[in-house]
């Protein structure tokens, strides 16, 4: 494999530029060909009895048949991977979780997963300040990760989770409107402008000339059909391009 460090950073760079669930999904699909996983799931852990794993899933690339089976059988309460997420902050292999939480019910979940092409997996746990847990899990028919690949996939999982949360939050707010073709730099200038910074201030912050800032803001105004900066900011706020 070529330099896995660089490959991981390339994936992260693309993940950071994603703006929708579909784009995050596509990036993770593509990354699977590099790291050798076939399926992935990004989701929170249910905090109440009434919730299932799929209710809390943010982005799922899991086999449908397995998701349905898992849900119907209530495997959430037996899955050693779920139990391990709740007790560690370090990434782990599914097979290691199964060894740590050895019991017949857990073993049956792992056995059945194998039948759906999920022989082993790599899971990155997340623990929020408010006590909520979440995880990114990568499953495969044949998973073999070097130390560097583990570290790379760990980092990919962190950025995938962050993006999944961000796009889910936008969806929850009902903001589906595309950003109107604004560039990242134009959006950044608008944000600083909305924060009360002058073109000169913004230029200092972004290490570009104030004239360039003015040009970005003018271009943003055109794309937003705004006649001045105040209207640009108002329109960008309304469309959820800036918050």
């Amino acid at each position: 494999m070529p330099d896995i460090r660089q490959t991981s950073f390339d994936i992260i760079h693309r993940l950071r530029a994603t703006r929708s669930r579909a784009e995050v999904y596509a990036e993770l699909r593509a990354a699977g060909r590099i790291f050798g996983y076939d399926a992935f799931l990004i989701g929170g852990l249910p905090q109440t009895e009434a919730e299932g794993l799929l209710d809390c899933a943010m982005i799922t690339g899991w086999p449908d048949a397995w998701s349905r089976r898992y849900h119907c059988q209530g495997y959430l309460h037996q899955d050693p991977v779920i139990r391990q997420i709740r007790r560690t902050t370090e990434p782990f292999l599914w097979t290691d979780a199964a060894r740590l939480h050895e019991d017949p019910n857990g073993a049956r979940v792992m056995d059945e997963a194998r039948g759906f092409g999920l022989r082993d997996g790599f899971c990155v746990p997340f623990h929020d300040l408010d006590g909520r847990e979440a995880g990114v899990s990568f499953g495969s028919d044949r998973l073999s990760l070097s130390e560097d690949e583990r570290a790379g996939l760990h980092l990919v999982a962190i950025y995938a989770m962050s993006k999944a949360r961000a796009v889910s939050a936008l969806r929850a707010k009902g903001e589906f409107e595309p950003p109107g073709g604004l560039t990242d730099r134009e959006i950044e200038c608008l944000k600083w402008s909305a924060a009360g910074k002058s073109a000169w201030d913004t230029g200092q912050i972004l290490a570009i000339s104030s004239r360039t800032v003015e040009a970005h803001l003018a271009s943003a105004a055109r794309k937003l059909n705004a006649v001045n900066r105040v209207q640009s900011i108002a329109e960008a706020l309304r469309r959820g391009i800036i918050a």
Binding site: E90, H127, L129, I158, S162, A195, L206
Partner: protein, 220 residues
Amino acid sequence: MFKLISGQDGSEDPNLMDKVYRFRHDFFVEHLKWEACRKPDGREIDAFDTPECYHVVGLEGDEVVSYSRLLPTTRPHLQTHLYPEILKGAPAPSGPRIFEWTRCAVAPSKRESSRGADAVSGPSFTAVAEAAEFLGLEGLLVQTHPILVSRLMTFGWDVEALALPCPYDGSTILPICARLMPETIDTHRQVFGLSGSVLDIDTFDLPRRRRIEAPRRRSA
């Protein structure tokens, strides 16, 4: 209440700095068992506590309850001088508007659970973001556990990983540059339910403060 104290000003308030160094010793040596930092007088001070560093101190009455230290990257700092191997040869940003966030601590007695949804942790993170903005910083270098990396993103920092996570001292560590964005402080306030500023800027010695004047290019 949170105070921002420059290393220079700290020398004029030896009582407060004494409490700060004792708090650091209690936390990092006694609680986290960083034996290499143990000092016979119970005050954890090192070569990086210079007049050029900044202390963000959380106080409840006279008691220190949280702490963070900001080190200038234009001088020796931990990433360059203590564990450069974490970067695995990758370049790290530096310059007058990049500081390094070290020695982040919240008094264990103030943390209601090990997961940290308590009354001090949130404001102490917010105080660091406010201090960074007040000092006109562009971003902070941090070497931390990956779990904190996703939290910083949730708090509104733009986090750039500088190297892959690696095992360090029985845990995992990752060097990052967390950049202050226009929405970073508001996001902190939303996440932690804060109505306004937590950093008591009035106590900062205004005539003698050294705001960073000369911006440098990001790629510095």
